[in-house]
């Protein structure tokens, strides 16, 4: 077996040092009736690198890769061009095969990268402090709700209808067990999000208001008005962003008054990967909330010679110190995805992120204009960044499937996101990033035109 360096001679020598007759003797504490004396029979034996590669390639070919289609899927996961530099650097063994940086003297590479990552995320979100990552946007969103409960000592989260339904479901699952209340709502099919209705649901028992920005239908809610209303009732505003590229074009949630900003960082550096691993981003606007944050934090310090260095810090919030009193049970997070994100964002810089955002928005405007010309198709949004909801004359799901057969991945139907919500079934969320060409947009439009006739 190519991954195992010991030879039988080595094993024999080592067993004699140990004083055991064979390897099985080392498992003497396992009761005989529970010890397997041979490899499990129903499973195949070892295979060569070539054989495994061929098997996996065969499976991969059963999927329709985005690059082989006109591609417009979004709804929380976005396809962006990732520079080759990113994937090269994250595969350096010193990053890829390192552990969590608990030994800072020999982990300054990971630690400095995390400090830079935290600083970038904080700036992007308009916040004071960001942590070193969470699993993904959906789990970061629940952790924010839990944190708002700790800060306000209240248990009722008011959730906007524009929050990604998987994020809502995740929070509701957790809340069922923690005794929190998640007051959610379905999205209303309006050109702009219904802020007034959301604000009317905030009361003096509300721990937080959770608003996605841009929302699941691609619209841009006015966070400032919601922040003001939440704060007036003593509640926190949690802003959720699933498309960080948008923040190159729109105001940051922090500057609009959000107290906790969380989101999905997958757009930058990480890739689609059928949904994971992704990158949860988590930041707070006010540094006084730092000690209620979940997850790891990297901070600056000096070494014994006075040189600048970085360490994991404020770990008295965390499970390995606080055990059952920790702010979260999270341990492993998304370190390598954070590295991919920070490299991609360093390559872009301010100028690049703004250009990238502008290009996304330009193409989305183009697509919205083109799609709205199709008879029977209507663009819902007044405002959007790179994602719009179009209303089709009939149920969108069969049309999406039909178009997929023609290698057009037209978007995510609201029927898929909200099964059973008949009022939403005609909705199709179409995301347009820089990876979609104007020709792809035309392909989508003509295919859709044909399908809805």
């Amino acid at each position: 077996m190519r991954y195992l360096p010991l030879t039988d001679a080595d094993r024999g020598e080592m067993l004699s040092v140990i004083g055991a007759s064979d390897v099985d003797a080392l498992f003497a504490d396992v009761a005989d009736e529970h010890y397997l004396k041979a490899p499990i029979g129903v499973l195949p034996l070892h295979a060569s690198e070539m054989a495994v590669e061929q098997h996996m390639r065969r499976l991969s070919k059963k999927n329709l890769a985005a690059a082989d289609a006109a591609f417009f899927c979004g709804a929380g996961a976005y396809r962006h061009h990732v520079p080759a530099t990113v994937d090269h650097l994250i595969q350096r063994g010193e990053f890829l095969t390192a552990y969590t940086p608990y030994q800072p003297e020999i982990a300054q590479g990971t630690l400095q990268m995390l400090f830079e990552f935290q600083s970038q995320v904080a700036r992007l979100y308009g916040c004071a402090v960001a942590n070193a990552s969470m699993y993904d946007g959906s789990t970061a969103c629940w952790e924010a709700i839990a944190m708002a409960g700790r800060v306000t000592k209240r248990r009722r989260a008011v959730v906007s209808g524009g929050l990604h339904p998987h994020y809502v479901q995740t929070a509701k699952t957790m809340a069922k067990f923690t005794g929190d209340e998640i007051a959610d709502a379905l999205p209303t099919l309006q050109a702009a999000p219904d802020n007034d209705a959301l604000i009317a649901r905030i009361d003096d028992q509300t721990s937080c208001v959770v608003v996605q920005y841009p929302d699941i239908l691609g619209r841009l809610p006015d966070l400032a008005a919601i922040a003001e209303a939440a704060h007036a009732k003593g509640a926190l505003l949690i802003a959720v962003n699933t498309e960080p590229v948008a923040l190159g074009a729109i105001k940051s949630p922090g500057e609009l008054g959000a107290d906790i900003v969380v989101g999905e960082g997958q757009s930058l550096g990480v890739g689609l990967q059928f949904g994971g691993p992704y990158l949860g981003l988590f930041a707070v606007r006010d540094p006084k909330h730092v000690r209620q944050m979940p997850g790891r934090l990297c901070g600056e310090t000096v070494d014994a010679e006075g040189k600048r260095g970085f360490v994991l810090t404020l770990s008295t919030r965390e499970q390995h110190i606080r055990r059952e009193k920790a702010t979260s049970n999270i341990c492993t997070n998304s370190g390598l995805c954070a590295l991919a994100f920070t490299i991609h964002l360093t390559l872009l810089g301010e100028a690049g992120l703004r250009k990238l955002a502008a290009e996304n928005h330009r193409l989305a405007c183009l697509a919205a204009d083109r799609l709205s010309k199709i008879p029977g198709v209507e663009v819902l949004n007044d405002s959007f960044f790179n994602e719009v909801t179009v209303m089709l004359p009939t149920d969108a799901r069969p049309i999406v499937r039909e178009l997929a057969d023609k290698k057009v991945l037209a978007g995510v139907s609201l029927g898929r996101l909200y099964p059973g919500a008949d009022a939403l079934a005609r909705g199709l969320v179409v995301a347009v990033t820089e990876t979609a060409s104007e020709e792809d947009i035309e392909t989508l439009a003509s295919a859709l035109e044909e399908a809805v006739q």
Binding site: P104, E105, Q273, V302, T313
Partner: protein, 531 residues
């Protein structure tokens, strides 16, 4: 937050020839100091070619950004150099032996990286129509079958995103099952030697956590456990092999006792790598166990994740598993079960734990690893891991106290204590001495039940020559610690940094760059020296 510390090396620092070894740049040959991106980048530089924005009116609904974000950019060569230089300040499994107990730092085959990057896996959206992702579903199902067979369990929840998330999944299954029978219960019993995630998870799921005592030989005290069981105990969380590196001999008896008292058994599978192909947790009466794909099945740790924590479940708990999941029909097709069809297919699910389908990128890597080993190779791997740990245990126990050395063979990790160290010298000092010897330190001060614990896990990745060098280092360090060698107290001496001031970091937290960016016209990295 506070301004960055004013002491220490800075890119602008001038000539320093302290101890005769100083250089004008602060660099030392291959050891290159590297500024922060905020000190060398500016908001105008961009390492990606993108079209200039057109002047079209926007449809951002009045939310258009007006202020600067403050993000530094670097050109592509500067970016490559920045991160390459940073990478060289890291220890890694690719570089050497990484005997971090309980963390399982084993070889990360590059085939797995190649497989995960196949376009059909990497470039696929989680919400594409199911007919366009049958291959992805087959990967999930194939891996699920392996995990079920290797553990002898009934089903597996694939979506949890890391070990702790898997623990939560298992505990929520237990809670859902107990609530379904109208008997919610309040207490989860956890041994003191458990990973910190165990009590944190149980508390998060709304349970009160109580300790299970251990015997003098480092295992769960079965009689004490039996005495505590009762109608308020929802279940136990037990790590097997445990964090003292020992197999819980009484596991089946523990499970039987817990079941007889109406509770359920969670097993922390962080150490499953010791017994793969040799013991099936299902045979020991386990109801739920997470499997860290990033430990046992070698998906890279990546400097702190991503992980992946599928949870295998007994027949009693499988009906409560979270959504979504993949199932194979009698006709061989694989089907995705989500909210939409759960009502008919999986009505008792406790819900969804995260968006989308779990850590697909880890599934492809883990499956490639498993297929490469096969049933025989996996069994050999666990045997070699245990052999290597016992070789270290028996080669060092005359100099390093092994508190449970007399309890029989260890599993995949050898546990030592600081018992015979000279006064003033600690486990921390020995661990930092490991760094100078060219190794990553072992796990320190864990498990909590042993004073000054040192948990050494070599894994099956190491050759005998590699182990002999580690033993040489451990024995030398043990002798220095016993004899009171003061120089150990200031180790490491040869690392990129000396010991770091963690108290300062916590007392005056600097958690983000707070200064201005490099002004326009700042010399590039190469002009600042160092290349």
């Amino acid at each position: 937050m506070n301004a960055p510390n004013q002491s220490g090396w800075r890119p602008t620092m001038t000539l320093d020839r302290r101890d005769g070894g100083g250089t004008a740049t602060g660099n030392r040959a291959l050891m290159l100091e590297e500024p922060l991106i905020f000190e060398i980048g500016n908001t105008h530089t961009c390492g990606v070619d993108l079209p200039e924005p057109s002047t079209r009116a926007n449809r951002l609904g009045g939310m258009a950004r007006e202020s600067e974000i403050g993000l530094p950019g670097l050109s592509e060569p500067e970016t490559i150099r920045h991160y390459t230089r940073l990478s060289r300040q890291n220890y890694a499994i690719d570089l050497g032996l990484f005997p971090l107990g309980s963390c399982t730092m084993k070889h990360n085959p590059r085939l797995n990286e190649k497989v995960a990057r196949m376009p059909g896996f990497l470039d696929v959206h989680p919400l594409q129509p199911v007919d366009t992702v049958r291959g992805a579903l087959e990967v999930i199902n194939e891996l699920a079958v392996w995990l079920i067979e290797l553990t002898g369990m009934h089903g597996v929840a694939m979506t949890p995103k890391a070990g702790a998330h898997g623990e939560l999944c298992g505990i929520l299954c237990i809670r859902a099952a107990l609530e379904a029978r109208g008997d919610p219960r309040e207490v989860i019993l956890v041994p003191e030697s458990a990973h910190g995630t165990n009590p944190a998870t149980a508390a998060f799921a709304g349970y009160r956590v109580e300790n299970i005592p251990a015997t003098a030989e480092g295992r769960v005290d079965l009689e004490a456990l039996k005495a505590r069981l009762g109608p308020d105990v929802a279940g136990v969380m037990i790590t097997n092999p445990n964090t003292c590196g020992l197999f819980e001999r009484d596991m089946k008896a523990i499970s039987d006792a817990v079941h007889a008292a109406g509770g359920l058994v969670y097993c922390d599978g962080a150490n499953f790598n010791a017994i793969v192909g040799r013991v099936r947790p299902g045979d020991l009466g386990i109801d739920a166990m997470h499997i860290n794909l990033h430990k046992t099945f070698s998906t890279p740790h990546g400097g702190g994740g991503p992980g992946s924590g599928p949870v295998v479940l007994s027949e009693a708990l499988a009906p409560y598993a979270p959504l979504p999941f993949v199932t194979r029909r009698a006709d061989g097709t694989v089907e995705l079960i989500e909210e939409e069809n759960a009502g008919a297919e999986h009505p008792h699910t406790f819900g969804r734990m995260c968006a989308f389908h779990g850590q697909m990128g880890m599934f492809t890597r883990a499956l490639a690893y498993i297929l490469s080993h096969g049933a025989d190779g996996l069994r050999q791997a666990s045997g070699d891991a245990v052999l290597n740990a016992n070789y270290i245990l028996r080669s060092c126990e005359d100099l390093l106290d092994a508190p449970f050395g007399a309890s029989g063979p260890c599993m995949h990790e050898a546990l030592f204590s600081d018992k015979d160290f000279a006064e003033g010298l600690s486990t921390l000092d020995l661990a930092k001495g490991m760094i100078d010897e060219g190794f990553h330190p072992m796990t320190m001060y864990f498990p909590l039940v042993v004073h000054g614990a040192m948990l050494v896990e070599p894994t099956e990745t190491e050759s005998k020559a590699g182990l002999d060098q580690l033993i040489l280092a451990l024995r030398s360090l043990a002798e220095r610690a016993r004899s009171g060698d003061e120089s150990l107290k200031t180790a490491p001496h040869f690392a990129p940094r000396r010991r770091l001031d963690e108290t300062l970091a916590a007392r005056k937290p600097v958690l983000a760059w707070d200064g201005p960016l490099a002004p326009a016209g700042t010399p590039t990295l190469s002009e600042q020296g160092g290349s």
